[in-house]
């Protein structure tokens, strides 16, 4: 579960990125986070992954209180949150299989566990036949699916996708959104940050709109509610 209560985040340069954000995303829920550039979306993601600490207010993510989390606990928080980025962030020198296995190695998984789990997630994202390829040999959509496989492989309770379709054409974007939807159906809490209004409208899910550091609308009314603001 993700829970923000009256969260304020100020940066040392004096800008206030969040001005009192409260929101709650239940376990197994699917939500879109929308808002213009500079509205505070990235700050929310960085707070969830422990990259930043709130200036005031409380942030709870999967049982961790991030306003008082210790540095050495952060890796363990991150193992409960899989993150997918617009620019994929894959390791080009490793194969598709190794990119996914790497995420398991990092948390100390054994060889047998890796041999069982990696093919399963690669199949889940439709890359079961591309294990020996390198990321540079894949299309944009495939690279993003690989990034999703990596985010999923450690079975996190939450997936956060930051503009996952920003670099993809409409057809590939649709595929990725459907894949995230499927992952959510398997029980993973999913938060998708996006600008793509058409996709948000089609999937008809909860939309949290943020503007100028405040939540301006939150509900099933989709992108329109945010635009009316």
């Amino acid at each position: 579960m993700i829970e923000f209560t009256d969260v304020v985040k100020s940066y040392s340069v004096g800008t206030q990125a969040l001005k009192g954000v409260s929101l709650q995303i239940e376990d197994g829920e699917f939500a879109y986070l929308v808002g213009p550039s500079g509205s505070g979306k990235s700050t929310i993601i960085k707070l969830i992954t422990g990259e930043l600490k709130p200036t005031s207010g409380t942030v709870h993510v999967n049982g961790y209180s991030l306003e008082r989390i210790r540095k050495r606990e952060i890796p363990f928080l991150r193992r409960t949150v899989g993150v997918v980025f617009q620019d994929f962030r894959l390791i080009d020198t490793k194969t598709v299989y190794e990119n996914v296995a790497f995420a398991m190695r990092v948390i100390g998984a054994g060889n047998r566990e890796i041999r069982e789990r990696v093919p399963y997630v690669l199949e889940l994202v439709g890359l079961e036949n591309k294990g020996h390829r390198h990321p540079t040999e894949l299309s944009g959509g495939e690279q993003q699916r690989l990034a999703i496989a990596r985010a999923l492989v450690n079975n996190p309770s939450t997936i956060i996708a930051d503009e996952p379709t920003g670099n993809l054409d409409p057809a590939r974007s649709w595929e990725i959104m459907s894949l995230l939807q499927e992952i959510n159906n398997l029980g993973t809490t999913t938060l998708v940050v996006t600008h793509q209004m058409d996709l948000v409208e089609k999937f008809h899910k909860r939309v949290i709109a943020i503007n100028d550091g405040l939540v301006v609308s939150d509900g099933m009314d989709g992108y329109k509610a945010y635009e009316i603001q």
């Binding site: 050495r72 193992r79 100390g108 985010a151």
Partner: protein, 296 residues
């Protein structure tokens, strides 16, 4: 730590060397160049010091024995002389022997045929460990009962002392500067190698790697590169040293006064310095460079 995790981290460290071949090559080359300069300069200084020391030892102190003492008494003073801390060795010279030596220095020994050895005193020829302590040692010799006088070449000793002092200060300074410069250059190279990998480190952080897990392969890599650099530098240093010394010793002009110790005599301190510097640079270099990339 589980064995398969440990062996994975080791393998990753070694793999990193080949994966980032150019940076590894650069780091090893810089380490070799820096260690080679430091190594050659220190072995040169070591040899110069020994040469000055040897010259120094030709400067002997003569202690004359009271003429009233008989042979046995004169010889017994030797143990008192050897007890003085700065005395490296003392040789008893009987007055007869002293006369022979004296006569031998002249072209016409027959002029001295009527001279009795009794006109001379028994004496000790003394070589000091450190000529910088000449005055104190001469005083200590004078204080020994049965020693009537002591003769020492003060000016010569002072000359050697000055040369040795200057050599010591200059060499310590130059080696220190060379070491600091080498460390800076090498740690910068390691930092560049690390910068090359910042994305990989960021991904590891993102998927929940602990700092220790991220650090270990880099430390293994730094250690291996440092040791490799040290090993290569050591080999080149050995070959260069032997080659140069061989050449110099063949030169007519140089062979009488330039004497070099064999490289095997330098082996211990050289291995210690090279391994120490290689380790320090590799491990400390990667440890400190990676720190800033871990703060994500």
């Amino acid at each position: 730590m589980k064995f398969n995790k440990f062996s994975y981290l080791m393998k990753e460290g070694i793999r990193g060397i080949f994966l980032h071949g150019f940076m590894s090559f650069a780091a090893v080359c810089v380490t070799v160049a820096c260690l080679l300069i430091v190594g050659l300069f220190s072995s040169l200084v070591y040899n110069l010091n020994i040469m000055v020391d040897d010259l120094n030892k030709t400067n002997e102190v003569i202690a004359y024995v009271d003429e009233n003492l008989d042979d046995a008494e004169a010889k017994s003073i030797g143990s008192n002389i050897n007890h003085i801390e700065n005395v490296q060795e003392s040789t008893f010279i009987h007055r007869k022997e002293a006369l022979e030596q004296f006569v031998a220095t002249y072209d016409n020994p027959e002029y001295f045929s009527g001279l009795s050895p009794d006109t001379l005193e028994h004496r000790y020829s003394i070589i000091l460990m450190d000529n910088r302590k000449l005055t104190e040692t001469v005083d200590a010799l004078r204080a020994i009962p049965g020693i009537s006088d002591v003769e020492a070449a003060n000016e010569l000793a002072e000359g050697f002392t000055t040369v040795q002092d200057v050599l010591e200060i200059v060499s310590v300074l130059v080696i220190a500067i060379l070491l600091v410069v080498s460390l800076l250059i090498i740690s910068n190279t390691v930092k560049l190698a690390m910068y090359d990998r910042r994305d990989e480190i960021a991904i590891m952080k993102m998927v929940g790697a602990t700092n220790g897990f991220i650090r270990l392969p880099f430390i293994v890599e730094g250690f291996t590169l440092g040791m490799l650099g040290a090993g290569i530098a050591f080999g080149i240093e050995w070959a260069l040293y032997d080659g140069l010394v061989g050449r110099i010793e063949q030169m007519e002009m140089a062979k009488n006064f330039l004497k070099f110790v064999p490289f095997t005599e330098l082996l211990g301190p050289m291995v210690a310095t090279f391994v120490g510097a290689g380790l320090f640079v590799g491990v400390v270099g990667s440890w400190t460079s990676i720190r800033k990339f871990l703060n994500v």
